[in-house]
C-alpha cells in the first residue's frame, strides 16, 4: 500500500518522484519498460529551452521559463552536466527578421531574461562566423543543453536513495477507484495507493481515460535526429537554427537546429511527423532525408561552415527517433484531475517538456502537499554522490582511481573511454543496469565512433558475470532482445566455466 504511485519514469515521473520524496510518503514509480527512462526522455533534442518561442499565455510558456531557471541548482545538486550555451535563431531575409522581432516580443511577455534582437555584427560578436547571407537574428542566452537520460537517471537514483520504490516491466492494465484511493493493476501485480500521478508519456491519455471522464487525447508525433562525431564539437557552441523553417513534413517543429551536446556529440534535428504507433521510434527514410537535405542546403549559413565547408556526411555516427506526446489541447495538461480527487496529470509534456518538467513537478507537488497536508521529511537528501566519469578525469585522478580500483585500468569502451569499474558500478548501482542498452545509457559505452563494435560483447560478458546469468540470457534492451545464442547446439553453460 503506497501513498503515492507515479506511472512512468521519464523526465515527468522522475521529477515528480524527486519532489515527492521530500515528504513523508511511501512512494512507488511504475514503469512499463525494462529500464527507467525508456521512452521519449531518452530520445529528444536534449535542449533546455529559453522559452522565447513558447506561445505567451500557455502553460508551456510559464513552466518553460520557470523550469529553465531551476536547471543550474538542480544539475549542480544531482551532479548532472548542464551548459548554458545560448540559443541563436539566425535570419537570412526580412521575413525571418520579422519573425525574430515577433519572438523577441513574445519572449518579453514570457519574462525570458536576456533575449536580444541582433544585427549581423551583433551575432558575430557571439559566434565569430556566420555565412554571408545571415543578416541578423535572435539571441537567447538562457538556452542550454543537458543530457536528458543522465538527468532522468540522476533524478531516479536520488529518489530511490530517498526511499522511492521502482517497479520495472510493469505495464498498467487498469485502474479502479476505491474508498481510499486507487487500485492499479499491472501485468505483474496489483498496487494500492492514495494518490496517483500520470506521467505516462505517449500513453498518458490511456491512463487518464481509465480514471477520469474528462478525456484527453495524446498523439505521438515523431521527431528524428542525426548525430555527428564529437570531433566537430569545437565548431559548435551555441544552439543554432533558422527562422522560420518550412519543412515538407508540415512543421510542428521548433525548427531544424544544430546543437552541441554535453557529451560533445553534435545533434541535428528535428522534423515532425504524426504517427499512429505510440511506441514506434524507428527512424524513417523520409525523416532522415529531410534532415540531411535541410543541412546540405543550409550548412553554409552556420558558424561551423567556416572550418567545415560542406555538410560532413562521413561524420554521421547515428540517428534516432523520439515521440513527442502531443496533446490535442496544444498545451501541457497539468494538475489534479477535475473529477477525480487524488489523480494528477502531468501529460502532454512535449517540447519544452524537458525544460519545464522540474518546475511542473514542483508545482504539482506543492499544490498536492498543501491540499492534502503532506508532511515534509527531514531526511531528504537532494544532492547526489556521483563519481566523475573516467573520461572526464585528469591523469592524476586517473592514476588515483586505478590505484584504488584496478578495474579502472581496464578500458572496455575505447571510443568513449569507459572502464570496467564503471560498467560494474552501473550494474550494481541502485536501479542498476540489467542489459546492454542500460549500461550504455549510464556509461556511454557503445555511443562512440564504433557504436559498440568492440565493446558490446565485452559489456555483455560483464553483465553475465555480474548478474550470474549465462551470456545467452543477456539482452540488448530487455526481454526478447537476446544477443547471443548457443553454438553447436550446446546447452547454455555458466560463464564461470
Amino acid at each position: 500500500m503506497y501513498d503515492a504511485i507515479i506511472i512512468g519514469s521519464g523526465i515527468s515521473g522522475a521529477s515528480l518522484a524527486y519532489e515527492l520524496a521530500a515528504y513523508k510518503l511511501r512512494i512507488a514509480v511504475i514503469e512499463k519498460g525494462s529500464d527507467i527512462c525508456s521512452g521519449t526522455s531518452r530520445g529528444n533534442s536534449a535542449t533546455v529551452h529559453s522559452g522565447h518561442d513558447a506561445a505567451y499565455g500557455t502553460q508551456k510558456a510559464l513552466y518553460n521559463v520557470m523550469g529553465n531557471a531551476m536547471f543550474d541548482q538542480l544539475c549542480s545538486d544531482l551532479k548532472v552536466p548542464f551548459i548554458r550555451n545560448g540559443t541563436i535563431l539566425f535570419a537570412i531575409n526580412e521575413a525571418d527578421m520579422e519573425e525574430v522581432r515577433r519572438l523577441k516580443h513574445n519572449a518579453d511577455k514570457n519574462h525570458v531574461p536576456g533575449v536580444e534582437v541582433l544585427d549581423r555584427d551583433g551575432l558575430l560578436r557571439i559566434e565569430h562566423y556566420f555565412g554571408p547571407d545571415v543578416i541578423g537574428g535572435l539571441y537567447a542566452p538562457t538556452g542550454g543543453i543537458v543530457c536528458p537520460y543522465t538527468l532522468v537517471i540522476a533524478l531516479c537514483e536520488q529518489a530511490h536513495r530517498n526511499h522511492v520504490d521502482f517497479f520495472l516491466n510493469n505495464k498498467v492494465m487498469c485502474i479502479q477507484k476505491n474508498a481510499t484511493g486507487f487500485f492499479v493493476t499491472t501485468n505483474k501485480t496489483v498496487f494500492q495507493t492514495r494518490f496517483l500521478f500520470n506521467c505516462a508519456g505517449t500513453h498518458a491519455d490511456e491512463i487518464n481515460n481509465m480514471v477520469s471522464s474528462n478525456k484527453i487525447t495524446i498523439l505521438p508525433r515523431k521527431g528524428e535526429h542525426i548525430l555527428l562525431d564529437k570531433k566537430l564539437a569545437p565548431y559548435v557552441r551555441a544552439t543554432i537554427s533558422q527562422t522560420p523553417v518550412n519543412l515538407p513534413s508540415g512543421g510542428h517543429t521548433k525548427g531544424m537546429g544544430i546543437m552541441p551536446s554535453v557529451d560533445k556529440t553534435i545533434i541535428l534535428g528535428c522534423d515532425a511527423h504524426d504517427v499512429t504507433d505510440k511506441d514506434d521510434t524507428a527512424t524513417t527514410a523520409i525523416g532522415l532525408d529531410e534532415i540531411t537535405s535541410y543541412f546540405e542546403k543550409n550548412w553554409r549559413h552556420l558558424p561551423i561552415s567556416e572550418k567545415i565547408p560542406k555538410f560532413p556526411h562521413n561524420r554521421i555516427i547515428n540517428a534516432f527517433g523520439g515521440l513527442r506526446p502531443h496533446s490535442t489541447t496544444d498545451d501541457f495538461i497539468i494538475g489534479e484531475s477535475e473529477d477525480v480527487a487524488g489523480f494528477f496529470n502531468m501529460a502532454g509534456i512535449e517540447s519544452p517538456g524537458l525544460t519545464a518538467a522540474p518546475a511542473i513537478a514542483k508545482k504539482i507537488v506543492q499544490d498536492a502537499a498543501e491540499k492534502y497536508h503532506f508532511e515534509k521529511t527531514d531526511v531528504f537528501i537532494p544532492t547526489r554522490d556521483h563519481v566523475k566519469p573516467f573520461r572526464d578525469m585528469n591523469d592524476e585522478e586517473r592514476r588515483q582511481a586505478v590505484m584504488e580500483n584496478k578495474e579502472y585500468g581496464d578500458i572496455v569502451c575505447r571510443c568513449e573511454m569507459v572502464t570496467k569499474a564503471e560498467i560494474k558500478a552501473a550494474i550494481h548501482a541502485p536501479l542498476g543496469a540489467t542489459n546492454v542498452n542500460a549500461v550504455k545509457m549510464r556509461t556511454r559505452a557503445g555511443m562512440g565512433r564504433c557504436q559498440g563494435g568492440f565493446c558490446s560483447p565485452v559489456v555483455a560478458k560483464i553483465l553475465a558475470e555480474e548478474l550470474s546469468i549465462d551470456l545467452t540470457e543477456v539482452t540488448q534492451s530487455g526481454e526478447g532482445s537476446n544477443i547471443f545464442f548457443p553454438k553447436n547446439g550446446n546447452q547454455a553453460k555458466r560463464n564461470s566455466q
Binding site: A282, T284, L288, I317, D395, V402, Q451, E479, F484, K487
Partner: protein, 421 residues
C-alpha cells in the same frame, strides 16, 4: 624516467613485424602496447586460412600467422604489455597508457610506431532508417563472437557488403549452422577476392545481389527482417524494387576505417583519402620520429603487405635513432593520385636520404579494364603499365627505381593516374 628506443602501439601483425624489424636493425629497448589479452590483433579471430602465402610460402590461418611473429617476439625478448590501452601520445613521443596492473604510465620514447589497425563502419554511419533491435552486428564483431567467445549471433542472416569480411562471415555463419539468405552489395562489383566469392558464396549457393542495399530495418526487440532495394548510381533506392527478407541477424561489412584517434589528438596530419597519417617513404608521419604502418595507415587486403610495410617502418625507426633523429628533408617530393587513383601511400618522398627504390601503393576508385597505370614525374610521363583489370578491392603497387628518381633533380611531384586504353 626511462626512455625507450621504440614504443609500438598495437601488437597485431603490423606492430609485431615493426617491433621485430626495429630490434633486428639495432633498436634495443622496444616496447609493444597491446589493448587485447594476447598479441595477434585481429588475426586471432581470423581462423580461416589464406594468410602468409607471400611471406611464408604456405597458407596459414590467421592465428598461425600471428603465432609466427609472436614466437619471434619472445625469441628476441621484446617487451610487451597486454590489456593496456594507450590513451594519449604527443609529438614529443610521450605515451600515456593505462592497465590494471601498472595503473597509469607515462612513457618516454625516442620513436613511436603507430600500428593501431582499423575499426568497422557501423550502421549508424550508414543512416539506415528503422528501429534499433538486437541482432545487428558489424561482421567483425560477429566473427569475434563466434570464433573467440563461442556463441552464435543468430540463425537467419542477411549480410550487407561483399568485401572479404562479409564473404568470410557468410561462410562462417553457414558452417556453424546458420542460414545466410543473401549477401547484398551496394556497388556493381564485389571488393572481395574472387576466390572468396567461390569458397564463401558459390560453395553454399548463397546469392549475391549487386547494386542492392538495406533500406529499412524491422523488429522491435530483436531483428525480424530487412527490406532490401536496388540502388541507382547515386546510391539512392530505386522505387518499387523493395524486397523484404525475414531474418534475425544482419551483418554489416561496409567499410573499415583506420583507427587514428590517437594520431589526430596528437596533431599528426591525416590524409582524408586514406584516413591514415600522411607519411613519407620511410613511413614517417609529419611528426618527426613517429611512424605508421598497417591498417592504421591505409586499409590492406593482404597481411603479407602489412608485414612488409611494418618491417620497413621498424627499420626506419631504428635508422632514425642512429641518425639522432636528424632527417634530411630539404628536398620534398609530393605524391598524388588522380584520375581514378583514389589514394596513394606514401604521400611524400624525401629523395636525398634514400638510396632505395620507392614502392608506392595505391587503390583505384572504380573498376577499370584494359587501362594504363601511368606515372608522371612533374608533368612528364615516365611509365605506363597496361593492366587487364584494376579494382578498388585490390591494392596496387608500383616500384620506382632510385635511378629513375635521381634522373630528375628538379622533381617536385609524382602523380599516378589511370589512363583509359
Amino acid at each position: 624516467m626511462k626512455t625507450y628506443d621504440l614504443i609500438v602501439i598495437g601488437g597485431g601483425p603490423a606492430g609485431m613485424a615493426a617491433a621485430i624489424s626495429a630490434r633486428e636493425n639495432g633498436c634495443e629497448d622496444v616496447l609493444i602496447l597491446e589493448r587485447g589479452s594476447s598479441l595477434g590483433g585481429i588475426l586471432n579471430q581470423c581462423i580461416h586460412n589464406g594468410f602468409g602465402l607471400l611471406t611464408f610460402h604456405e597458407e596459414l590461418t590467421g592465428p598461425e600467422y600471428a603465432a609466427r611473429y609472436a614466437e619471434k617476439i619472445c625469441a628476441l625478448n621484446i617487451d610487451y604489455q597486454l590489456n593496456t590501452t594507450v590513451i594519449r601520445i604527443d609529438r614529443e613521443k610521450k605515451v600515456t597508457a593505462i592497465n590494471a596492473d601498472k595503473g597509469l604510465q607515462i612513457l618516454q620514447s625516442k620513436t613511436i610506431i603507430l600500428a593501431m589497425g582499423c575499426r568497422e563502419r557501423p550502421r549508424g554511419a550508414l543512416n539506415i532508417p528503422g528501429s534499433r533491435p538486437a541482432g545487428i552486428f558489424s561482421a567483425g564483431t560477429a566473427q569475434r563472437i563466434i570464433n573467440i567467445d563461442g556463441y552464435m549471433p543468430g540463425h537467419n542472416v542477411v549480410i550487407l557488403g561483399s568485401g572479404d569480411i562479409g564473404l568470410i562471415m557468410a561462410r562462417r555463419m553457414t558452417l556453424e549452422g546458420a542460414k545466410v539468405k543473401v549477401v547484398a552489395e551496394l556497388m556493381p562489383y564485389s571488393s572481395g577476392l574472387k576466390r572468396n566469392i567461390v569458397q564463401c558464396l558459390d560453395d553454399f549457393g548463397i546469392p549475391l545481389k549487386f547494386r542492392t542495399s538495406v533500406v529499412k530495418i524491422h523488429g522491435d526487440k530483436r531483428l525480424t527482417g530487412v527490406t532490401l532495394a536496388r540502388m541507382d548510381d547515386r546510391n539512392k533506392p530505386i522505387p518499387d524494387t523493395e524486397e523484404f527478407y525475414e531474418c534475425d541477424t544482419l551483418l554489416l561489412s561496409v567499410g573499415l576505417i583506420p583507427e587514428n584517434e590517437l594520431s589526430d589528438e596528437a596533431g599528426i596530419p591525416l590524409d582524408p583519402s586514406t584516413c591514415g597519417p600522411v607519411v613519407n617513404n620511410d613511413f614517417e608521419t609529419e611528426a618527426e620520429g613517429i611512424f605508421a604502418c598497417g591498417n592504421v595507415l591505409h586499409v590492406h587486403d593482404l597481411v603479407d603487405f602489412v608485414s612488409q610495410e611494418a618491417a620497413s617502418a621498424g627499420k626506419n625507426a631504428a635508422c632514425y635513432i642512429r641518425r639522432n633523429g636528424l632527417s634530411n628533408k630539404e628536398r620534398t617530393v609530393r605524391l598524388f593520385g588522380s584520375d581514378g587513383v583514389r589514394y596513394i601511400v606514401p604521400q611524400i618522398l624525401n629523395p636525398d636520404r634514400k638510396d632505395e627504390d620507392l614502392t608506392v601503393r595505391f587503390r583505384v576508385g572504380e573498376v577499370y579494364q584494359n587501362a594504363f597505370i601511368s606515372v608522371f614525374f612533374n608533368d612528364q610521363c615516365i611509365l605506363r603499365r597496361k593492366k587487364p583489370i584494376v579494382t578498388p578491392g585490390e591494392m596496387e603497387l608500383i616500384k620506382l627505381r632510385k635511378e629513375q628518381i635521381n634522373q630528375f633533380p628538379d622533381l617536385k611531384s609524382i602523380t599516378i593516374k589511370i589512363e583509359k586504353g
